[in-house]
């Protein structure tokens, strides 16, 4: 607070100070052995200032008064540097004074690390009980206290915590090695481990890895595909979501620039970003600019309705403020980021989606993806895939990935199922990792490029 007061003497247009303290424990288990268990603590401050359209940002983990003043000076020096002047219209945001504390039963920093290790071991043992399966699993928890103060008068105190779990199962059979990943993450305390069903997930990963050893490499070329909810979530996030981030739009780096109100996809495509979904991994009551989060319909029945904004992009573009300014931690300035992003389910069954496909591919489970919103090109990989022959799911395939153009692919979505699946992940942008969730129903895409033999 005194930093903001100090900053008020410095002739700035805007000043924001974000203090953060967090503790975190990461445990990596490799084939039953604790490879590493690392508890740690960090504390730091981020200072963002604006003057004549130039942003200054500084961050420090050195918190004595002298270092903080130095950080403030650095930030202000950045903002006052002799550069081209321009006007930045920060969208007005309600001044908020609030304290948000996540409800937890078992505080992460009060649970002995031995309990966390033995919980992870339960999953590891279950996975390795399947023939010839090896496993690398990770438990990661994070508990933070954050204070956001700005020169408008906003003063927010936030306490949050989350857990993340991930297992890679490796199976070898007849000289062929394959791997499969299961993952779960949620906001909450250590009690949330109970809802993961770790044994079941690890057994599934092991069995899937074993099954994949008998799969054939995927064919390459253009095919109709049906993808499950996890993959449609990746499509929602990679192919479309990133291009709706208004900072990319404003910089001319999104193919969706200037397309609000236009039909960019088939009528089956409705895309939503919603940070208000309870314990879902991408949820937050406020973003890192202190703006309250909300549910946004970005595409409705194929028509682009809105972009995701922060205060600057909302002001510049004259669009609603959506509360999507998020920063990885005190070391980074907030960027426009997605939260929980998904396609809305429709009313079809999987069988109906498969019907009529002479030769195509059914793909399930995500292996990560990437997008270039400026060119509108995306890629993502699947964990499992099957040949579709005359509307029936057939032979198993491996190493499946697909690539396409955003605007072309959205128009080729020709069916949406009524089921729904979600997947938590960390998304990278501008050198920052951010927790989020992606999800959706099964989708049918009439044609897309598949990489393969």
């Amino acid at each position: 607070m005194w930093l903001v007061d100090k900053g008020s003497e410095m002739d700035l247009d805007f000043l924001e100070v974000r203090y953060q303290r967090f503790s975190s424990t990461k445990i990596e288990m490799r084939d039953g052995k604790v490879f590493s268990a690392t508890p740690g603590e960090e504390e730091g401050v981020a200072i963002r200032s604006l003057r004549n359209g130039v942003w200054g940002f500084s961050t420090t983990s050195d918190l004595d008064k002298k270092s903080l003043l130095q950080a403030l000076k650095y930030s202000v020096k950045g903002a006052k540097s002799k550069r081209k002047k321009r006007e930045v219209k920060l969208a007005p945001a309600p001044v908020v004074e609030d304290e948000v504390r996540i409800k937890v039963r078992e505080e992460l920093d009060e649970v002995p690390i031995e309990d966390k290790i033995s919980w992870l071991r339960r999953g590891d043992e279950e996975a390795r009980s399947v023939d010839g399966v090896k496993a690398t699993s990770t438990y990661w928890d994070y508990k933070e206290k954050k204070v956001v103060v700005n020169s408008d008068g906003t003063f927010l105190k936030i306490e949050n915590s989350w857990i993340f779990f991930d297992i890679w199962a490796y199976a070898t059979k007849n000289g062929v090695m394959q791997s499969y990943r299961e993952r779960f993450a949620t906001l909450g305390g250590f009690e949330s481990t109970e809802k993961i069903g770790i044994e079941e997930r690890c057994r599934k990963a092991a069995k899937k890895a074993l099954e994949l050893t008998e799969a054939k490499p995927a064919p390459g070329g253009r095919f109709p595909v049906v993808i499950d909810g996890v993959l449609s979530g990746l499509l929602a996030h990679e192919a479309v979501g990133h291009a709706t981030e208004a900072d990319s739009v404003l910089r001319g780096l999104s193919v969706l620039k200037g397309k609000i109100g236009e039909k960019i996809g088939s009528e089956h495509v409705t895309l939503i970003d919603d940070a208000t979904l309870g314990e879902m991994f991408g949820s937050d009551k406020y973003d890192d600019e202190g703006v309250q989060s909300k549910r946004k319909v970005l595409i409705k029945n194929g028509v682009l309705k809105s972009y995701l904004t922060n205060r600057e992009t909302s002001g510049e573009l004259g669009l609603p403020l959506t509360g999507n300014a998020r920063a990885q931690d005190y070391r980074h300035p907030p960027l426009v980021r997605m939260t929980n992003t998904f396609f809305k389910p429709g009313d079809m069954d999987l069988d109906e989606l498969l019907e009529g496909i002479k030769r195509g591919i059914y793909a399930k489970g995500g292996r990560g993806g990437q997008v270039s919103p400026a060119e509108g090109v995306f890629q993502f990989g699947a964990q499992e895939a099957y040949v579709i022959e005359k509307g029936e799911i057939g032979e198993r395939l491996r190493d499946f990935s697909m690539s396409g153009f955003i605007l072309e692919t959205l128009k080729k979505v020709s069916g949406v199922s009524k089921d729904f699946d979600v997947y938590p992940s960390f998304c990278g942008k501008g050198g920052q990792w951010m927790r989020n969730t992606t999800g959706g129903p099964h989708l049918r895409i009439e044609e897309i490029t598949v990489g393969g033999k």
């Binding site: 690392t38 961050t59 404003l250 393969g452």
Partner: protein, 444 residues
């Protein structure tokens, strides 16, 4: 106090509090970055950023049980808390019978070109002018969008251990780049160029020139058919592919656990006989060159592949002790993370050509790939989107090729290596010029 003093204090305290062995890694990083964007419809943005980060990590051993902890609170209180937490954890954790002790001091490797004193007072004003110059030129040339950045970084590291290691060193980093988007007749083309080095040298003008060449080359779109293609990989594209498809496979942890397609293949031919890959931890001016690795072991050069034959994997003190070998000095670490194995500067050598593009009758120049992280690290199977990619005919770039995918396994790719040439640059750990592979599967 210097960073080494913090590490020494940790070691002293941990031994006093009952640790059998201890080592500590402390660091102080400072960086100054500038960034600017101009967009054709009038949007522009400028920012400056400063980062100061200090922290220390500790590894303690109590009765063959090893544990870690870290903190950014470097006062006496913070140090005592982090040491006690690590010792408590080591006491609670199971023993590791395969642990043979922390490494002994073996001196340091004399390395050159990793610290440029000018980093203490970087030329920020000149940087501002260069960025503004790049952006103004882009708008004059009618480009759709232009983004340019410049970053100066300094890092001080101190490593101390109860076995007698006490090392301190400084590193400098300069990163800069230009990212352009041009548009003509509905075709958008991206041109980018980056430079990363140890020396305080401003190269934004050169970056601009190269980025312009690529963005202009991409304004014409060429259609191709799928099939087996000659691929020329730019290091921007090969580096991420190798990170997931190769560096994980030579990591001794993955090898010892049988999670690498190169497990058990020492002495076998795994690549084209023209290919040589060496991990050079002591390379002059390398981006990952250091006098010692993350646990204080002197760095060195390790031949990974020679004449196509696999010779070595990369080790730290733990995995090497398991095989009664010496560490290759590939322990990587920052104050937040435990010791892991990673390449330093992975140098590719082979048949050289002065201008490899001129020798290509028909092929693809791949400047970037998307989805390298979806590679199956155990099998090396990859399936990525080649973007940006350009068609080359009779030694000349004809235009951009959009929407094609490259797939295969790394094992196959290494055998398809043909030759390389042009300017050698470093991207991440990869040190290579343009590298040519024959008969790579492309789908469109």
């Amino acid at each position: 106090m210097t960073v080494l003093d913090f590490s020494k204090r940790v070691v002293e305290l941990a031994m006093k509090l009952g640790a059998d062995e201890v080592d500590s890694y402390s660091s102080l990083s400072k960086s100054f970055s500038l960034q600017g964007t101009e967009e054709s419809s009038g949007f522009s943005d400028r920012s400056a950023r400063t980062e100061i980060s200090r922290g220390l990590g500790v590894r303690v051993v109590v009765g063959k049980s090893v544990s870690y902890s870290y903190t950014t609170s470097l006062d006496e209180n913070g140090i005592e808390k982090v040491v006690r937490r690590a010792i408590d954890l080591a006491r609670a954790k199971e023993k590791d019978p395969e642990f043979r002790g922390l490494p002994e001091p073996k001196g340091i490797t004399k390395v050159e070109g990793i610290f440029d004193e000018r980093i203490e007072d970087p030329p920020l004003e000149e940087g501002v002018q260069l960025i503004d110059g790049v952006l103004a030129e882009s708008m004059e040339k009618g480009l759709k969008s232009s983004n340019s950045f410049l970053s100066f970084g300094l890092k001080e590291v101190g490593i101390s251990s109860s076995s007698g290691i006490d090392v301190e060193f400084k590193e400098s980093f300069v990163q800069q780049g230009v990212y352009l988007l041009s548009e003509k007749g509905g075709v958008t083309s991206l041109g980018s160029s980056f430079s990363e080095g140890r020396e305080v040298q401003l190269k934004l003008e050169e970056c601009m020139e190269e980025a312009l060449e690529y963005s202009e080359a991409g304004l014409k779109v060429e259609k191709i058919n799928g099939g087996d293609w000659t691929i020329v990989f730019h290091p921007d594209a090969l580096a991420p592919l190798m990170e997931y498809g190769f560096s994980q496979a030579i990591d001794s942890y993955n090898v010892q656990e049988g999670k690498s397609y190169l497990s058990g293949k020492i002495g076998e031919r795994v690549a084209s006989e023209d290919l040589e890959i060496t991990d050079m931890g002591d390379m002059s001016s390398g981006l990952r060159t250091r006098p010692v690795d993350g646990e204080g072991v002197p760095t060195r050069s390790t031949e990974i592949i020679k004449d196509g034959v696999l010779l070595n994997y990369l080790y730290d003190s733990y995995t090497s002790a398991k095989e009664n070998k010496e560490s290759t000095g590939n322990a990587t670490r920052d104050f937040r993370s435990p010791v892991k194995v990673a390449p330093t500067n992975l140098v590719l050598r082979g048949e050289e050509s002065k201008s490899p593009l001129e020798e290509i009758e028909r092929g693809l120049l791949v400047k970037g790939v998307m989805g390298a992280h979806s590679t199956n690290i155990a099998t090396g199977a990859f399936s990525v989107s080649a973007n940006p990619a350009y068609l080359i005919e009779n030694g000349e770039i004809k235009g951009q090729v959009r929407g094609c995918m490259i797939a295969g396994t790394f094992e196959e790719l290494l055998r398809k290596y043909s030759f390389q040439g042009g300017e050698v640059i470093q991207r991440g750990f990869l040190v290579a010029p343009l590298v040519v592979f024959e008969g790579v599967k492309v789908s469109v």
